[in-house]
Amino acid sequence: MKVALIGNPSVGKSLIFNQLTGVGVEVSNYPGTTVELKGGSTCYQREMIDIVDLPGIYSLDGTSEEEDLVRTFLQEGMVDAVIVVMDATRLERNLYLLLQVAEFGIPMIAVLNMIDEMEKEGLEIDTATLEYQLGIEVLETAASKGHNIEKIVPLVRSGARKATLTIPYDRSVEAAVRTLEKTLGAGRTESLWALQGIAKDGTVSEAASAITEQIEARHRMTVQQIIAANRHNYARTIADRVIKTRETKPGFDLDQLLTSSIPGIPILVLVLLSTLLVVFIVGAFLEETIVDAFQVILIDPLLAFGLPPLAETIALSLAIALQAGLGIAFPFVFIFYILLSILEDTGYMTRAAFLADKAMHRVGMHGGAIIPLVLGLGCNVPAVMGLRNLASRREKIIGAFLITMVPCSARTVIILGIVAAFVGILPALTIYLIVFLLITATGLLLSRVTPGEQFGMILEMAPLRRPQSRLVIKKSWLRMQEFLFIAMPMLLVGSIVLGLFEYIGITAMFEELIAPFSEGVLGVPPYAATALLFGILRKEMAFEMLAILGGTANLSAIMTSLQLYIFGLVSVLFVPCVSTIAVLFREMGGRITAAVTLYTVGLGIIIGALINQIFG
């Protein structure tokens, strides 16, 4: 038996899916983070039940990627039953989607989730009446507490049935449906799709479009609008019959504080800064511990072992890659993801998006785009993948440029390890300032020259919740795995290639070629330029290579403060790493990837050269 979970964004669908299947799936309190279909299975009474977690959507009639995907999925009859998950505190809006699902005529049950929060809000839902109104079984659950989750599979196994409800549409719509049914033999649901211009069948669509015109001329409203209004009205009728509100005292309104200009914006700045600070302080401490441990346990014994030169080069490259990768991944990326998950699960991210909306407009995007940008501080790779959620190509293009300029945790390592350690904390902070200014300037410029229309933000605010540590850790760990699986293999291979280059002498040749340029333009020694170049493989490798090529970890002994500063700044700006380029290519295509790469290279060299000119 195959069943699908369907529901609005952030109703706890993914959480239920996790508990049903035990498969790790990312749960998110931010609308629209589950884009791909996720499947898993569970055993019930010796029968295999396949469960699909469909992306969170508001409607089945829209044209967005997710809506299209879910509609096609249901149209093709790929499941035996559907579980509609609803947020009990937002029943009316959730019923709107349920009504649409019901029209597909697939056996279904409804899960009324977040029943615990509903009680807190002083609402009561008469489940028996709701069952009667919809003609299907309704189960009350509280997924965050695991309440009643075990009853879902048995219920869908035995109790799923087609809903008996019929939505009363406007007379003209009903007449059109009858006409299409009579003349072309189209079903009711298909006729409704055709009237809204989303049917698969060509002849029905054609016939419908003629009728649509007539209806629209008469009503001065689009058919979509009429149908949506009818459904909303029906949802309201049902909701009114089943919801009882108890009087509750209006409590302290935290939202009031978070979403006003004052103190909302200072709080936002504080939250972002303290997130970065925690990552810096805790990350730097942990990184040192991990790197030292690797040195003692792996690298020193390896060197002492005395392998033949080629084997030693390869083994050492691998060991260094592991050391650096884990040294970054756990301290910086993981801690950042934990903090980010907390921000998402509390619902704060949507408030941040709201507050930042106007500022983001200036750089050609809207508030929603702040999520991938912040994500980019951890690792650019998942951030670029997050661009999918932006509505227009224009925003995606601007986003691609800006995200690749956001200093990810690997670049944080460079800033900390080179500039903060050998030049000073204040210069390190100026690098952030310069990068921030450049991002803003790039955004201002791109918002002017990028073609395409701008969509504003329409964002449902996630309710404020207390995050649960178990869920936060789980989600961060899943994101972390994504990082490990995409970045780590690349890192290991890159490191070996690098070791081999060094071994056969390509590195030395390159240095000779680059020498006039690096000394003349950037004012850094040629081996620093080599190090920069290898930074393309992995950003923080620029740092390690500098130490290796320079022959000492005490960088201030071989380069001046200015040289170190320029090196740090250029490697932060210069070219996204290979993994980012790969994911950019996948999401945005070759032209944008090439443009982003060239732009960042140019920017890095120009800014580096400028600073060398001014201060050198």
Binding site: E92, A229, K358, M457, I458, L459
Partner: protein
């Protein structure tokens, strides 16, 4: 070519004379048109022969009734097309004006009638072009979400802007729906509460939702 130039000429004459309420001088007219003086002169002669215009003392030009009708018709087509291109299709104003200049000569009256019926609710400028801009803050008695303040209980009257309408509809923001304005920042970003949910909207979207106060 000839026809479109003549129409342009009548349009310009109508525009200038209705703005200033007096006969139009040759220099005023040629400033409005992108044609050489010879061309304009020969077109004026033609128009005079056909009885669309009359010269008054001093060589100033006056529209006759038939000329006024033709000029008004062309200008109306121009305004309607321009309005449709900018407001509905989001084209920039200069481009839309040029485009409208070309289209106005070929488009039929019926098309213009239907087009203006289609946009009347959302683009009152098409009918009130005589007066200078007085669109903000109220458009023909319509108030957008941005005209209200925090805490107001409102009812949606209409929406415009095809791009995001669908998502608004699915979130329950449809004509007739009651909503409350929960938060309004000084920079015009707003949060509305609709069907127990808070929805954050950018200023340009809030501006496209017309509402009235609930009584």
């Amino acid at each position: 070519m000839r026809l479109s130039q003549r129409e342009d000429c009548l349009e310009a004459l109508y525009k200038i004379s209705s703005e200033r309420n007096r006969p139009v001088g040759f220099v005023e007219l040629s400033g409005e048109l992108q044609m050489s003086d010879e061309e304009i002169r020969s077109i004026l002669d033609e128009l005079e022969r056909e009885g669309h215009i009359a010269r008054v003392a001093g060589g100033d030009i006056m529209l006759t009734d038939s000329g006024r009708q033709r000029g008004e018709g062309v200008l109306r087509k121009h305004r309607t097309l321009e309005c449709f291109l900018t407001e509905m299709l989001g084209m920039n104003t200069d481009k839309a004006s040029q485009e409208a200049c070309r289209l106005e000569h070929d488009v039929s009256d019926e098309t213009i009638d239907r087009l203006s019926l289609y946009i009347r609710d959302s683009c009152p400028g098409a009918y009130r072009w005589g007066k200078k801009k007085e669109r903000e803050p109220s458009r023909a008695g319509m108030h957008s979400l941005l005209d209200f303040s925090e805490g107001d209980e409102l009812r949606v009257v209409s929406m415009r802007g095809p791009g995001w309408k669908r998502r608004l509809m699915d979130l329950g923001i449809i004509p007739g729906q009651t909503i409350s304005l929960k938060r309004k920042l000084r920079n015009q970003s707003i949060v509305v509460r609709v069907k127990q949910c808070d929805v954050a909207l950018s200023p340009e979207i809030a501006r496209s939702i017309f509402v009235e106060k609930r009584t």
